[in-house]
Symmetry: C2
Subunit: 357 residues, 2 copies
């Protein structure tokens, strides 16, 4: 097997962490007898600098022709002053939409080895948690009609939170299938006591529940969910929610692990092609200094092996290698406790490669 | 002075906690030589049961004729099966809109005496925090155009997040004035990298900042805010945000105090008339059992004394009485640590009344 992977190094620490993941993919490929062709693709801040647009057409084309996309991180303060359509995040939104990656999977798991980094009190950290949030990624107010207009009270601006039953259904199926493969518990998060779009969301989820009698579905209001994540994260297994609520709740969920540098994510559509990227940002302050934590990107590559390339054994092998390295106490700066030795990105990467062989 | 207060006992523990607050108001009134006429008003689940509507017209009228409104809590599972327009929360939304209470003030403070209840790790709890969130309460997707329609992909539902510059300005003024009276730091939370309404929000906030050169304004994206509340709540002093983001973030902010039973809130408009209510819900499971914590409602009454009635000394007196009672170690069930004696609502109320005299 030979896989074509479109690689978006992006900005800041993006290139460093992506290159770590590429080394890991090449190594595990050798072990399991498959190989990769990586095609670098420009998107984000660097694309603005070079081509005057955050997402050149050719970049989208290369992504569409690939088996999957691996992304580092885009953005940085340098481009924050630009107008909306010229900002690095447009690259992310554009790829999501062009590739129809409507399902964003974001695991948030407290690793026992790192529970001292958990910002929650000791009893909660000791109890641990392991959830995965399925965030709708191509609908809602991110892509609904928006603009400026003259209203009853003068100038106003608006965005539209709109969901079709079909959009809710397809993300619902992703979530129910995932719940079926895990703890068989699904929590759907909405604001059905106020929003019409949430009421449709809830109706569709409950209709789907009839087809998944083995999965226990419950609803939770988004404000309550924001509380419960802090109070008792262990109650969550698989969670499904809209684009904007997912944006907020997944960030909260990753923060309560205390180790964002470890968290991968996958964005999927109808086909096997997905986009894989770490949760963390481009961290321009440490870019190019060999200080980044490559683990989130390496684990994103593992998700790609599993979900897009069907290489479950290789995926597990990579995840095990990371676990062993962490269990040995190896730490990059972001996950180090006081007194720990701090490894550079390259050394951490080598340790993972060694653990893999 | 004689004040007319409309009283919405509401559902569940609402009547118990409201009656505690009324006793406190009567007592502090005697001490400071003013008095109250309390008019009970039906709203919420009990109004549905009695009048077939969550917010009878006469209830709104009584509120409009009052100096202020004191509310316990509305809702409960009994009414959760009703269609949208017949649900208890419609009472809340209706009063907010009819009284034009566009500014919701929600303090979230970690009381040193209760820091063991904080769900965050010890260092964060020890550092403490004391913020107040100013949530816009009569605009955005709570009240924008919404409905069902046939779209490109079949049936769909939509809500509109719409803000006029004027709406943003008036909530901005509330927040800047509050920031000026406190630590002179204001954080405005939006999603300006995606939403047009947030970009207008940000523009107006920055325009206003010119009029408040003594206040330091900064912006934060809502997803980041959800993380920062858990990571480092101490960085927040006054926060201002939209209706829906405020709904989510204020609940998260109250949860990180670990003692929701203590948190008051105020909803204000252009006039002095406000609505005051505890953050907590109607807790139907413990209703009528004298187990509720009256403190959040008592502190809401104190906010009323300060913000609507201009009785700052009396307000402070009530707050000090509550602090003394807590400092003495008196606890209701919700804030008790293992081994603490647990007081009923009525005993806690008496303790506050005694501390007041
Ligand atoms: C950069 C931004 C547009 C993006 C989003 O809001 O989706 C980010 O916050 C994310 O969660 O991937
Ligand atoms: C009950 C509900 C409509 C309400 C809201 O969303 O505003 C509540 O969550 C609140 O925060 O006061």
């Amino acid at each position: 097997m030979n896989y074509n992977i479109a690689v978006i190094e992006g900005d800041g620490i993006g290139p460093e962490v992506v290159n770590a993941a590429i080394e890991v993919l090449n190594t595990v490929g050798k072990k399991y007898k498959f190989s990769f062709v990586f095609k670098k693709v420009s998107a984000g801040g660097n694309a603005i600098d070079r081509f005057g647009t955050p997402l050149p057409k050719e970049s989208v084309q290369t992504c569409l022709e690939s088996n999957s996309v691996l992304l580092g991180a885009v953005g940085g303060p340098k481009w924050d002053i630009l107008p909306g359509h010229l900002r690095p995040e447009k690259a992310l939104l554009g790829i999501r939409k062009e590739l129809e990656l409507y399902a964003n999977l974001r695991p948030a798991r407290l690793l026992p080895e790192l529970k001292d980094a958990c910002p929650l009190r000791k009893e909660v950290a000791d109890a641990g948690f392991d959830m995965i949030v399925v965030r709708e990624l191509t609908g809602g107010m991110y892509f609904g009609e928006s603009g400026r207009r003259d209203g009853k009270y003068g100038p106003e601006a608006y965005d539209t939170e709109c969901y079709s039953a079909l959009e809710v259904e397809r993300i619902g199926v992703t979530a129910f299938e995932l719940a079926r493969s895990r703890g068989k518990k699904l929590i759907s998060i909405d604001k059905a006591n106020v929003l019409e779009s949430s009421r449709l969301w809830r109706e569709v989820m409950h209709r789907l529940a009839g087809k998944y009698p083995d999965v226990e579905l419950s609803d939770m209001l988004v404000d309550n969910a924001a509380m419960q994540l802090v109070k008792n994260p262990k109650q969550f297994d698989v969670v499904v929610t809209s684009n904007i609520f997912g944006d907020i709740l997944t960030d909260e969920a990753s923060q309560i692990t205390g180790s964002i540098g470890l968290l991968p994510s996958a964005s999927l559509g109808e086909t096997k092609r997905g986009m894989y990227e770490p949760i963390h940002g481009s961290a321009p302050d440490i870019a190019g200094q060999d200080k980044a934590n490559p683990i989130a990107t390496v684990l994103s590559a593992a998700m790609m092996l599993r979900l897009s390339l069907g290489q479950e054994d290789a995926a597990r092998d990579v995840e095990d290698a990371v676990s062993r390295v962490l269990a040995k106490g190896l730490r990059t700066a972001d996950i180090a406790a006081p007194g720990d030795d701090i490894l550079p990105c390259s050394t951490m990467t080598k340790a993972i490669l060694n653990a893999l062989k």
